[in-house]
Symmetry: C2
Subunit: 358 residues, 2 copies
């Protein structure tokens, strides 16, 4: 890998964030423009609103809102549905036309009553077969619920999900599956061991955080939680190695500032780290910090697009980032109604966007 | 072990807390009376004030203040010094007469530059030999500093300290050593494997918390952090087994409410859980929850006193706790100057103090 100098530049064609939370209402109006601000032209949008997005009509309405909120006509919003009994196998064939790219499985939707602490996915067999047939992606939040009688807690919840991932990948060899926001060395190895139908998103913040950072610091608390330094290293190495299975999904998750800063004895702070508005410079800074800056375009655009089969348009815009000293991250982003604190608020990032082709 | 019924009582003679932070100034005036309020007659006082307690004069002045603040003439304050280069081996022979019982070693006082991440204790060889000769106890905060290049973080900082404990115990076989606030199964095993010169304190809160509780909940954040459910179980089993090496040291650590509730992006919340004012009922509740209520007197008085060689006076006071339904923990304790939030604020405890012999 190359070493970098001040002033060095890197170019990425149409950066793509394959996992982002854009919320709804006033918060969505505040944060949706930040996708483009952060250098991105594609947002793979999570469906966990209240109520969750479970129909094509809801997804299309949500997509329309996001386009209105975006402030840029250039950002592509790819939509997902929330895995639940409300999804019907007979509908899958119509999803693609409605802009649905994937289905997201959350642990709370598939919990309890099995040795793994997770309900069997057997009930979704017909759905998954239809998804396989119609090339819809399955996105997995890969954690099992805490169960102290089995010594399961936030630290091993991901590792203990991995056999489920392996089973699904084998049972549905043509179903494309993404293990979302991997945080452990075990997950990296498991994804590598699966066939080419399995890929994995990695967030920006998990490339720098460990458990030490969120111990007592709620702004660094997210789920899955950041784990050991050795886990962080495994994520970095996966990117550095240029393995095409690993690409960016920021899991950028805005929460009102107060819900991040403040706990009461009976309720904790919100889980989530907000990276959208600084995403491409942040990723460049982090990749550069562990000698992987040359993987920037692969990690933030090429590999994800290849897995999702979303080729670049012939005149797709290019974004150039440059290594510069000390760009301070804004302390807070706010509208009249909402305020959110970005990751690394008031800290310094050594890369910035210097040119964006519109 | 017996099972308990509503109305059952247990009696403890002169409960003793062998690890407590009583602070100074206004905060000390607020919290010192809580030792007695929580049912305790002995407080083994930590020396980590600013500046730390490093001389017999400072310790005696501090002890005098604590007696004034206490509100009870019955509480015994046992004093410790802060291990540092300010302690002189030639002084050790005078410590006992000045009321000094032990010396506390903090990781920040003994950091870096060795394979263990902890500076060698070799420089204290003469001091430790004098302590051995004059029966002064060595109290160890048993963690090594985080070092991500060695995969050391808050989760394994204690386990990686344990070889140091074993070495000290072997090198100074007559030096009584206490591993403070143990949080791991590994620590329990290590203490058991050492000779009788090594004992171990266990806090109340580590008998109920795991990492899941402090993830995003700053009021449950303390150091050492609570770890896996299997670690919590090992602490419970050590008490349940009636092993005399394990006794209560609450590590009750008051912080102003705001410093617990609130983080900013650039500074986290204070580490510490405050249990003093509810300590005996809380411990009874917890021991009862895992079938160890019959160990209450051993854990909260007898075993610690035996190790420290502090026998009960012939007319030592007795405290009776009773199993009752739903005593709600106060939301906050405050004076005009300070406010602190106790552990389990607004939650319910099923044991209460019903009789205290003055």
């Amino acid at each position: 890998m190359s070493t970098t100098n001040w002033g060095d530049t890197r170019e990425v064609t149409a950066p793509a964030d394959f996992h982002v939370h854009l919320r709804d209402g006033a918060l969505s109006r505040l944060v949706t423009p930040h996708v483009h601000k952060g250098g991105f032209y594609l947002a793979y949008v999570m469906p966990n609103l209240v109520p969750p997005i479970t129909t094509t009509r809801m997804a299309m309405e949500y997509q329309k809102k996001l386009r209105e909120n975006s402030g840029s006509t250039k950002v592509e919003f790819l939509m997902t549905l929330y895995l639940s009994d409300d999804l019907y196998p007979s509908d899958v064939k119509n999803w693609k036309a409605a802009g649905i790219i994937g289905v997201k499985s959350y642990p709370r939707g598939v919990t309890t009553n099995s040795d793994q602490g997770i309900e069997s996915y057997d009930k979704y067999d017909e759905l998954f077969k239809e998804m396989e047939a119609h090339s819809i992606v399955l996105n997995l939040h890969g954690e099992i619920p805490s169960d102290h009688s089995k010594n399961t807690c936030v630290l091993n919840a991901e590792e203990r999900f991995l056999p489920v991932l392996a089973d699904l990948a084998e049972k549905y060899p043509k179903l494309r599956i993404v293990l979302e926001h991997a945080t452990t060395e075990a997950a990296v190895k498991a994804v590598m061991a699966c066939g080419d139908n399995v890929a994995c998103t990695i967030t920006a913040h998990h490339l720098t955080l460990t458990v030490d950072d969120w111990a007592g610091q709620s702004f660094h608390f997210c789920k899955p939680v950041a784990k050991f330094p050795s886990d962080r290293l495994a994520l970095q190495e996966a990117i550095k190695s240029g393995n095409k299975k690993f690409f960016l999904g920021s899991d950028s998750a805005p929460h009102p500032s107060l819900s991040k800063s403040t706990a009461t004895p009976t309720s904790g702070c919100a889980a989530g780290v907000y990276t959208s508005p600084i995403l491409l410079p942040l990723v460049a800074h982090l990749l550069d910090s562990f000698g992987a800056i040359d993987r920037l375009a692969d990690f933030t655009s090429n590999f994800g697009r290849a897995f999702y089969q979303i080729p670049l348009a012939s005149h797709a815009p290019k974004v150039v980032v440059q290594k510069v000293q000390g760009v301070t991250v804004q302390a807070e982003y706010s509208s009249e109604e909402k305020a959110v604190v970005p990751f690394w608020a008031s800290r310094s990032i050594d890369w910035q966007i210097v040119n964006v082709e519109e």
